[in-house]
Each structure stands twice: as C-alpha cells, then as structure tokens.
C-alpha cells in the first residue's frame, strides 16, 4: 500500500489508544463516571433538541414555504416551561454533584496517612514509616489512603485521573485528599495547576500493590528512620522539649495526646487539634496560644522546611506520653552543653 509509515504508525496508535474514558481504579471512579454519563446525556439531549428545533423550523418556515411571517409576542406557558425544566435538571445535577463532592473529599476515619510535598517540579511522598519517594507513590490496594499535602513554593495540584481525584496543593496550608485504589497497577500522577517552566514534567506514577506486595515494599524501602523519629530528634534539637515536656514547671502546654483533642485558646476560640493546627502553631505561635499559657514561644518561620514540619507534626501526633521527652531533658541536663542540641538524644532508642 502507498500508506506512509508515519500515517500507519498513527493509525496503529489510534487503535491502541482509542480510549474515551480513563480506567476506573478507585472506589470513587464509578460514582464520578455515573454523574458524567448523566451530564453527557443531558448535553446530547439539549444540543439535539436545539438542533432539531433550528433545523425543523428552518425547513418548515423557510421563505419559500412560509412567505409571510406570523408575528408572535411570546408565550408565558412555553417560556415558563423552558425556564423550569432546565432549572430542575440543573438542580438535580447540583445535588448529585454536591453529594459526590462530599464523598470525594471526606476521608473515612480509618484511612492511613501519607504526606506529600509539592515543589517545583517534583512530588515528594513521605510515608510515616520513613519511606521517601520522588514522583512516585506506592499504596496498598483496598485500603483508604489519605494524603496530607503542602507546597513548598507555588500552587500545584495533585491529580490522578484514574482515581478521579484532584486537589490543589497550596503553599502555607495543608490540604488533604483520599482514595481507595481497587486495582493493582501503575496510574499516572499529574500536576494540573500551572507551576512554571517544567509544569508538564511534574508528573509521576502511583503504584497500587496488593497488601502483601505493599508490605514487602515497605520493608525494603524504609530509610531506617520513621517520620516520628525524625520529628523527635527535631523536637529536641529545636529546643521544643525545654518547654513542652509535661513537667510541673513546664512553660508550654503538654503535647502528649494533644492531637485530636479540643483546645481552648487565650482568645476563647475552641480549636480541634489537627495537622494544620499543629503546623500553624509552630510557625505562628502568638496567634495560637493555649489558654493558661503566656505567649512566649518564638516563631519557627523560616527555620523548618516543610519536611521538618511534617516530621514534627507526625511526632506530636504519635506522642502518647512525655516519658521520652523528659528522658532527653535528663540527658541534656546531665551533660555540659546547652540543652538545645543533645547529641545522643535521638540515638538512644
């Protein structure tokens, strides 16, 4: 055949990739697709209706067949009809969409948490167990995974089309998204918010594994230090332990078990302690003073990277008692140096 190889290649590509829909690889995907099909039907119906009206009237009332126009003012009945029916359809879409929105953005309580840091132009994933990945994320199948995400620089957006999830990753605040993958395999991860030169290079792969494979992966990929352990080291080296140590003389509030509790601040606000609150309280302490304490904590803005903050948050989150913190104090007090950087504090495990 005289078909050029380029064209041939193109046709082969076409046949291989003639997909109209992405894979349904999460528990959310079928729900999203259902609404999508409804909306596509609505669009086809609406467009066809308009096209049929225009074509029919054009044919029936063309100048040859209808030399003289009949003037019509309007019709309240007809106009009410085409106000109410679209409105009703749009309201159905509204309610349906709202339900889906809450389904996508409200994580189940048993979701495992992984931290994501976006920066120009890469995705860093930090697993609580100390596994670090770049432009990749390994997750188990059949288990809800929540991502707590933050950007180190500009807006990014974490998008996994095959899961039908996406969430903006914003500098200065945590955002979260969750999913439960249903099929093992590799799925594309995109940054979908324009973030500068290599925006289109800020892509990666989500690898969904069976629970067994995932366990093996976790064991083989750990850096040896969990996030909480890193956090504990920072807690001591930044001097947090000198005030937040749970002793009778402590100048800062006891942090053991604080995560998930309700705090009353000096300005009377009731606050639920979550990741975002902990991060804000470290960076901007004067606006987050627990009732009964003096506003003496300095800001740590600029002294901690987002990864460091995640370590600290993860440490405080998992802090059940002050025993180990107090141990670091004892070690520090017994040594010669200032209590800020006890060298063996983290090493003792």
């Amino acid at each position: 055949m005289g078909l050029s190889p380029v064209l041939w290649q193109f046709l082969v590509n076409w046949l291989h990739n003639a997909s109209l829909f992405p894979a349904e690889a999460s528990t959310i995907a079928p729900y999203t697709d259902a609404l999508y099909f409804f909306l596509v039907l609505m669009t086809i119906f609406g467009t066809t209706l308009v096209a049929v009206l225009v074509v029919f009237f054009s044919a029936r009332y063309s100048r040859q067949r209808s030399p003289v126009a009949t003037q019509i003012e309007g019709s309240t009945l007809l106009e009410t009809t085409w106000t109410i029916i679209p409105l009703a359809i749009f309201l159905v879409v509204y309610v349906w969409g709202a339900l889906l929105y809450f389904r996508i953005y409200n994580p189940p309580t048993n979701a495992m948490n992984i931290y994501i840091v976006g920066k120009q132009w890469m995705w860093k994933a930090e697993h609580p167990g100390g596994q670090h990945e770049i432009d990749a994320l390994h997750v188990p199948m059949g288990r809800p995974v929540q991502l707590t995400m933050i950007s180190q620089d500009v807006f990014h957006s974490f998008s996994v089309p095959d899961f039908r999830i996406k969430r903006e990753v914003i500098p200065g605040r945590y955002s979260t998204v969750w999913f439960e993958a249903t099929k093992a395999g590799n799925y594309r991860l995109f940054c979908s918010q324009y973030c500068g030169t290599q925006h289109s290079g800020m892509v990666g792969w989500i690898t969904v594994m069976t629970p067994g494979d995932y366990k093996t992966w976790l064991e083989q990929s750990t850096s040896g230090q969990s996030l909480a352990q890193n956090g504990e080291r920072l807690f001591a080296s930044m001097g947090c332990n000198s005030c937040h140590n749970g002793t009778a003389a402590a100048r800062g509030p006891d942090l053991a078990g604080v995560y998930g509790s309700k705090l009353t601040l000096t300005d009377g606000r009731q606050i639920l302690v979550d990741d975002a609150y902990l991060r804000d309280a470290i960076l901007n302490p004067s606006a987050h003073v627990t009732a009964g304490y003096a506003p003496i904590m300095p800001t740590y803005q600029g002294q901690l990277s987002e990864d460091g903050l995640i370590d600290l948050v993860e440490f405080i989150k998992n802090m059940q008692s002050d025993y180990r913190v107090q141990q670091t104090l004892v070690t520090a007090a017994s040594g010669e140096s200032a209590p800020t950087t006890p060298p063996q504090a983290a090493g003792e495990r």
């Binding site: 990739n17 009237f57 126009a69 003037q71 019509i72 509204y94």
Partner: protein, 558 residues
C-alpha cells in the same frame, strides 16, 4: 424578481445606477489626523475594528504555534519555557485585547447611537480616549512580548507570578491594568448614552435587544474591571516590594488572589458573551422577519446574567480547599446563572417558528453560535457541579468548555455581526457564496478542534502542558488538524471583506429589510447620523411598520 418568492431577502438598489452617498462619515474628512483625532463614534469603531483584527491574528498565530507544538508528545518545536510564553500571550491577547473589546468596541461603538437615534455617544472625547488607552495597553502587551515574553499564564497566579518567575510580569500586568481602563471608559459611555440619549419614543422596551445586552455588559465592565486593576496593582507591589498580601510567609493568603482575580474574570466571560447575544438577537429577528419571541424575557435574562455573574466566582476554586458550605452556595448560584442562557437559546429557536426564514451568512454564523454556545453552556454545568468539577477542572475539558463559549459563542457572534452590519459600515455587500463557505468552514473546524479536547480532559490531560504522555497524541493530532481548518475559516473573511471594500455590490440603505433605526439611514451613514432626530413611533422589530413605510416610499417615488 417575478418568480414568486426567492430564497433571499437581500434587496439591493439597481447596480447600474446605484452610487454610494456623496458625503458620508468615511469621506467626510481626509488625512491621518482626521482619523486619529476623530470624535465620530463610527470612525472610532473602525479604529477598533482595525486594532482588534490585528490583535486577533497575533493571538491566533500563538494559537497556531500552540497547536503545532502539541502535534507531538515531546516538546520538540519549542522548549517548555517558550511554550508557556505562547499560551500566556495567546490568553492575554485574545481575552483582553480581542474578546473583551471586540463587539463593544466595534459594533457597540458603531451602532449604539444609531440604534437609539442619537448623533453620537454621550462622551465622544472619552470614547476616543478609550481607544488610545486600549492601544497603549496593547502596545505594552506587545512590548512585554518583544522584550522576551511573560509566562504567568493569563491568570497571573500568585505566588508564581510574584516570587518565582523572572519574565516581564510587571510589564504585562501594567498592560492589562491599562487596557482595563479602556473597558471602564467604554462601559461608562454606553451606560450614560443608553440612559440619556434615546430619541423621542424610544422607551426601554422599544430598544433593540442589542442595546439591552450591551447595557448589561457595560455594567459588568464598570463594576468588575476596577477589581482586576486593584488585583494587578497588588501583584506588582508584591513582586516589587514584597508587601505580603498574598505571601503566606508574611501572613498573606495566596487564595485571596484567586478570589480577587476571579471576581473580575468570571464576569469577564459575560462581558465577552453578552454583546454577542445582542448580535444574535438582531440577526435572528431580521432573517426570520419576526419580533424576538418573548422580548422581555430575553432582555431581562441579559440583566440576570450580569447580576448572577458577579456571584459565581468561587466555582473556579472548588478544589482549592475553600469551605464546603461556601462551595455549596457557589455551585447553586452557578446552576442558576445557566438558566437565563438556556432561556435565550429557546427564545431564539422559537423566534424561527412561523417566521419567513432566509439563510444569509450572518444567519449561518448565528446558527453556529446557537449550537456551539449550547454545548459550551451545558459543559459549564459539568464544571459547576461540585463533584464533577474535581475531576474535570484544570484539564483540557475546561479549555474546550471556555473555547466553546468564548470562541464558539463570542467570536461566531462577532463574525455574524461584522457580516450583518458590513453593508452599513462600508456601504458595500460582502460576497455571499464565499462567506457562507467561511461560516461553514469555521463551524466544522471549530468542532474538530475542540470536541477532542473534551475527551482529552476527561482522560485527565492537564492544561498548559508543553509535553504530554504519548497515549494522548491521537486526540491532539485531531485537534491540531481542526485548528488548521479553523484558521483557514478565519482567514477567508479577512480577504473577501477587504476585497468587497472596492468590488462589493452597492448595498443601499437597507439591504436586509431590517427594522432598526440604523437601517433607515444611508449606508455608510453621514457623520451626523440623522439629519433630523428620528421619532420611535412603533414597536421594536415591527416588520409591518417597515412594510408600510417601504410601500409609501415606493408610491411617492412612483
């Protein structure tokens, strides 16, 4: 003539004897200065026509380059940086220098005084100033381009624009800041003119719908644009002096920028589409020889769109961690703003019913508008729906959606209007056959370009990617092929309209047998528009009045 009824309503004067009027606004004065210092709204409209056409083809060239780059998955035509500058320039030029000023600047300026029976706009000098301000903004935009470009995207998103780019962000922001004032001045001029300068008998409900839609768009320009100006100043200050409004490290809020920017930029979509809806109303009425079905509903739906349009901006931010409750409210308002557009579409469709329809070029463009705008509007409902938006936002679905609305809608309407009023503006007809071909080519090319992008969007391809995974190539090739056809469709009018300036048939005052006051005076109109102030003694779109008038003229002459 004698064979019963033809399939056209075009009635031209006898070409062997017909002449253009001896004196009209174009030949009233000569010389470059007579144009550059003119206060005649019609001449200013022509200045706008030249400049928006110029910017349209520059913006279009960037569209062409973007599509060419996307022909292959790798960034092989240009580097990622250059690609980013391409789509930024494409967006800035097409939105701020073409779509926003196109219909108001050209058709609005030309027609508003003619349609209400006035000799000019309320503030002729302000009108000229608005063109100069526009040109200053346009020149500065080109300066940003020539100096090396800018790669913020037309959205100027912080903190990218304020802290992370070293391109000409300030120049571009200044350019758009300045261009904004042109739109504010035009808006003020239209509002005052429509309020104060209507001729005797021209009540609000005798105004052509073109005026209602321009009035609504003018409200948006006057109330919305200052917010954009403020936002751009804040971006510039943040970039130059680090004032910390948007910088979280200084206690600022990057989401605040999104709120401010979209507070203007969503209504801006209606600034682009409302005037187009005005054009469609005029054209459909004329070529179906009928008054618009439910005039009041169409008029008020323009105002409703303008009003609701201000309260939907947060639908651009549903995935940005806004409060779920506010998301619920904004999604609901977005659904409501879709209704007036649906009303208009059905009213136009039913205007055809029992009409006496002919299919000249402007009508074909309007049919194109109705089809494409319907798809554009309904796909907007996808994006207004909270849960659906999560998957679709920031993908090619959004790109396809807003091109359907703004290009399929806005640009189709602009071309419909240019063809429709071309005889009035120039005194000559455009060639009918080739212009029909252009209308059909544009429609086909448009669909081929943008329908595949809906699919790409649902597959998840994000916007603004210089490189993309290979599995998306087939759809991108289709889209680029469509863009080629579309580009051809847009080149044609440029050529044959220029040709018609010299060789087009003499149009006479009312080739379409339309009812508007602008059609009752000579083409091209004299500088003072009306030798005596007209009196609007009939309803708008009153074809019986027109028939009686014509009959009387014939008998008096005969």
């Amino acid at each position: 003539m004698s064979t019963a009824i033809g399939n056209t309503i075009v009635s031209l004067p006898d070409q062997s004897t017909a002449r253009l009027p001896k004196r009209h606004y174009i030949n009233n004065e000569y010389g470059l200065l007579s144009w550059l210092l003119t206060e005649d709204h019609k001449r200013i409209a022509l200045l706008y026509l030249f400049s928006v056409t110029f910017f349209f083809f520059i913006g279009g060239a960037f569209a062409g380059l973007i599509r060419l780059e996307l022909l292959t998955p790798q960034p092989d035509l240009v580097a990622a940086d250059t690609y980013n500058k391409f789509f930024t320039m494409h967006g800035l030029i097409m939105i701020f220098l073409f779509l926003v000023p196109s219909i108001p600047g050209v058709l609005g300026n030309f027609l508003i005084p003619l349609m209400i029976g006035a000799k000019d706009l309320a503030f002729p000098k302000l009108n000229l100033l608005s063109w100069y301000v526009y040109m200053a903004g346009g020149t500065l935009t080109l300066a940003a381009l020539v100096l090396g470009g800018v790669d913020t995207g037309w959205t100027f998103t912080t903190p990218l624009s304020t802290h992370y780019l070293n391109t000409h962000v300030i120049t571009a922001a200044m350019a758009i800041f300045i261009t904004g004032f042109s739109s504010i001045l035009t808006g003020i001029n239209f509002i005052v003119t429509i309020h104060r300068m209507r001729c005797p008998g021209m009540t609000w409900f005798r105004m052509p719908l073109f005026l209602w839609s321009h009035y609504a768009a003018s409200l948006l320009m006057v109330l919305g644009t200052p917010v954009l100006a403020t936002t751009l100043v804040l971006v510039a200050l943040e970039r130059l002096f680090g004032i910390g409004i948007f910088d979280p490290a200084k206690g600022g809020d990057p989401l605040l920028f999104q709120h401010l920017f979209w507070f203007y930029s969503h209504p801006a979509v209606y600034i682009m589409i409302l005037p187009g809806m005005g054009v469609v109303s005029e054209v459909i009425s004329t070529f179906s020889r009928k008054r618009i079905f439910g005039y009041t509903a169409v008029a008020f739906s323009s105002v409703a769109i303008a009003l609701f349009g201000f309260f939907v901006w947060e639908h651009h931010m549903f995935i940005m961690g806004v409060s779920s409750y506010s998301a619920l409210v904004f999604s609901l308002l977005t659904m409501l703003v879709a209704v007036p557009s649906a009303i208009k579409i059905f009213n136009w469709a039913f205007t055809l019913q029992k009409g006496s329809i002919t299919f000249e070029t402007p009508m074909l463009y309007c049919f194109g508008f109705m089809g494409l705008f319907t798809i554009g509007g309904l796909t907007g409902v996808f994006l207004g729906s909270l849960g659906m938006d999560i998957h679709l936002t920031e993908t090619y679905f959004v790109v396809a959606h807003f091109h359907f609305v703004m290009v399929g809608g806005g640009l189709m309407a602009f071309l419909a209007g240019i063809h429709f009023w071309w005889p009035k503006m120039t005194g000559r007809m455009y060639p009918e056959t080739i212009s029909k071909l252009a209308a059909v080519t544009t429609f086909i090319g448009f669909n081929l370009t943008f329908l595949p992008q809906f699919v790409l969007g649902y597959l998840g391809l994000p916007r603004r990617y210089a490189a993309y995974p290979p599995e998306f190539q087939v759809l991108n090739v289709l889209s680029t092929a469509g863009a080629t056809v579309l580009g051809f469709g847009y080149m044609l009018p440029l050529l044959y309209l220029a040709w018609s300036l010299k060789y087009g048939a003499i149009a006479g005052s009312n080739p379409w047998q339309a009812t508007g006051l602008e059609w009752q005076i000579a083409s091209p109109p004299p500088t003072e528009n009306f030798t005596e102030i007209p009196i609007m003694d009939h309803e708008v779109y009153d074809y019986e009045w027109l028939a009686n008038k014509t009959k009387k003229e014939v008998t008096t002459v005969g």
